[in-house]
């Protein structure tokens, strides 16, 4: 009898707790990838859709779609917190690895080690993102660690595009026009990256301290875009 009482008390507690939670964190107009089963709705078992027994292909495609959607968000930054709402680190990983591979160039087997190495680019991106995140937390930002990492990682996308363009341009003959094209592309993409990440992250900062949080972001993308601009394959 006592046990049954315990159970009911526990259950009501759970429900009230989760009711409050669902009010706070899930609003209707934001699309959420995957299915989240909510126990209060579990009485309607028939429409309850679980992702556990779906084919792997569907899962992968859904995840890829989620990543692609975030790419679109970065390339067309408007006021939306879809990038913050459900973060993932797949996109940043892909972008970071592809950027590092492209920057690696042919310098791996050449005698000079002056070019940026894979590990260096990789470390700069992740270490820089962690430092920016810690800084924004210390300044009193209301954003979580991985959300910030996700946004910063996804906003490397314009710079990866710039790198791709630079490599294509470098296939042509070297010259001042060549450099000018690269300079313009890199500057444009640098501005794009900084603006996009600022649009996503600035709202989480106290209004009077936005400049302080934006400065390290600016420095971070500046270093990366500078590395892209000075890259020349041997």
């Amino acid at each position: 009898m006592a046990e049954a009482d315990e159970l009911t008390v526990g259950e009501t507690a759970t429900k009230s707790g989760f009711l409050g939670l669902s009010d706070v964190s899930i609003s209707e107009d934001i699309p959420v990838e995957g299915e989240i089963t909510v126990p209060m709705a579990s009485h309607s078992q028939d429409e309850d859709y679980s992702t556990l027994d779906e084919p792997v292909r569907e899962t992968i495609i859904r995840d890829l779609k989620a990543v692609g959607k975030k790419f679109v968000h970065v390339m067309y930054p408007k006021k939306s917190n879809a990038l913050l709402r459900d973060w993932d680190l797949w996109g940043p990983l892909v972008l970071c690895v592809s950027l590092a591979l492209m920057l690696q160039g042919g310098s791996a087997d050449s005698k000079e080690d002056g070019g940026p190495q894979f590990a260096e680019v990789f470390v700069i991106i992740w270490f820089g993102a962690v430092v920016i995140t810690l800084n924004s937390k210390l300044l009193g930002g209301t954003i979580s660690f991985f959300q910030s990492l996700c946004v910063l990682g996804y906003c490397v996308l314009p710079l990866t595009v710039a790198m791709l363009v630079c490599r294509l341009v470098l296939l042509a003959s070297m010259g001042p026009i060549n450099f000018l094209i690269r300079l313009i592309v890199v500057i444009a993409m640098f501005a794009w990256s900084t603006l996009a990440s600022t649009a996503f992250l600035a709202d989480s900062q106290p209004p009077n301290r936005k400049a302080l949080a934006v400065y390290p972001i600016f420095l971070f993308y500046f270093v990366i875009s500078w590395m892209i601009l000075t890259f020349t394959p041997h």
Partner: protein, 343 residues
């Protein structure tokens, strides 16, 4: 069996349900999905939750220490009768490991909370402090104010790292067994932290009124001059320009630090020792950073150590070195012969 769960169930009505939720979910067969949601990182104020959770964890640990291990087992699982000995042990191990990891992660978060007051600045304050770092104030008889803040210094050090990377790249510096990035970070942070603690130690010996935090802030803002000078001179390679900036901008930021230190120290000897050390280190560091990673110096080194020249230089140098021992030997042999002759 019911008794240990009862307070937990009650506690769930309260503010923070984390671990209670975990136990309850095991028993009640509730949904693990929602438990994850509960720990979700996406909620806005996750930080406060973490701090609270850490607090709770600490309390729990203290409790656990007090109780015997056997009792703790029973308290955690609360289902002795249901499971076998083995599963209980495994669960206990996992619980312990999880708890250890979780408390480690949360203590990290707590450390961030400790640091937060030092980052409590406004953009206008940072701007004015940056400007003030270039303006020496001649006010010796009253201790000058130093703001204990770390945002500005930290950002200046990172800026210096970026500028240094730029200088290394343009001068084609090659570092064996290490990356440019690591070297730049090591140099800048090493200087900032190392010299701050060294000067703090000296200040302790000289009885100056300064704390470690103030020393870090002072030296950190002092790096603003370095950033300006290096950024300009890495891009415009003119020696006269560098020396001008070195004396003017570097000198101003050094003077500012010296003025502050002088106002906080009593006695001429102590003042001379402390400020002399700081000024020397600060100015020499700028000189080092400029010339260690500079294009022109790199060129000179190349001509000195290039592949063509050393063989030519080595030939004439080898002769006197090879000839000297023979001459010395001859002389000693003669001397020995002379000393031996009378006998």
């Amino acid at each position: 069996m019911a008794s240990p769960v009862a307070p937990v169930g009650g506690a769930r009505n309260g503010a923070s349900p984390e671990w209670g939720g975990f136990e309850e979910n095991i028993q009640g067969g509730g949904s693990a999905v929602i438990d994850m949601e509960n720990m979700d990182d996406t909620s806005g104020s996750s930080f406060e939750d973490m701090g609270e959770l850490h607090q709770r964890l600490r309390e729990e640990e203290v409790d656990a220490d007090a109780a015997a291990a056997e009792e703790e087992d029973g308290e955690f699982l609360g289902m002795k009768g249901f499971k076998g000995q083995l599963s209980r042990q495994v669960a206990d191990q996992m619980w312990q490991a999880g708890k250890r990891q979780a408390s480690k992660a949360f203590s990290l978060y707590a450390n961030i909370d400790i640091l937060r007051p030092y980052f409590d600045v406004e953009p206008a304050q940072v701007r004015s402090r940056l400007l003030e770092s270039m303006i020496p104030v001649k006010m010796v008889n009253f201790p000058q104010k130093i703001a204990g803040e770390l945002y500005g210094p930290l950002m200046l050090v990172f800026t210096l790292v970026a500028i240094l990377l730029h200088g290394m790249k343009t001068s084609d510096t090659i570092i064996r067994e290490g990356t440019l990035m690591g070297t730049a970070i090591g140099t800048c942070f090493g200087y900032w932290l190392g010299v701050s603690s060294f000067i703090y130690f000296l200040a302790y010996l000289c009885n100056a009124q300064i704390t470690m935090l103030q020393m870090l802030a002072l030296l950190g803002y002092g790096l603003f001059g370095h950033c300006i000078v290096l950024f300009i001179t890495y891009n415009i390679h003119l020696h006269a320009l560098f020396y001008l900036f070195w004396l003017l901008v570097g000198g101003l930021s050094t003077l500012r630090m010296v003025a502050v230190l002088v106002s906080r120290t009593v006695g001429p000897t102590q003042r001379l020792l402390l400020c002399g050390t700081l000024a020397t280190l600060h100015m020499l560091f700028l000189l080092y950073l400029h010339f260690a990673y500079h294009k022109v110096v790199e060129g000179i080194l190349d001509t000195l150590e290039g592949p063509n020249i050393p063989p030519i230089q080595r030939v004439p140098r080898d002769i006197p070195i090879a000839g000297l021992p023979i001459a010395v030997l001859n002389a000693t042999a003669k001397a020995v012969a002379l000393t031996l002759q009378p006998h």
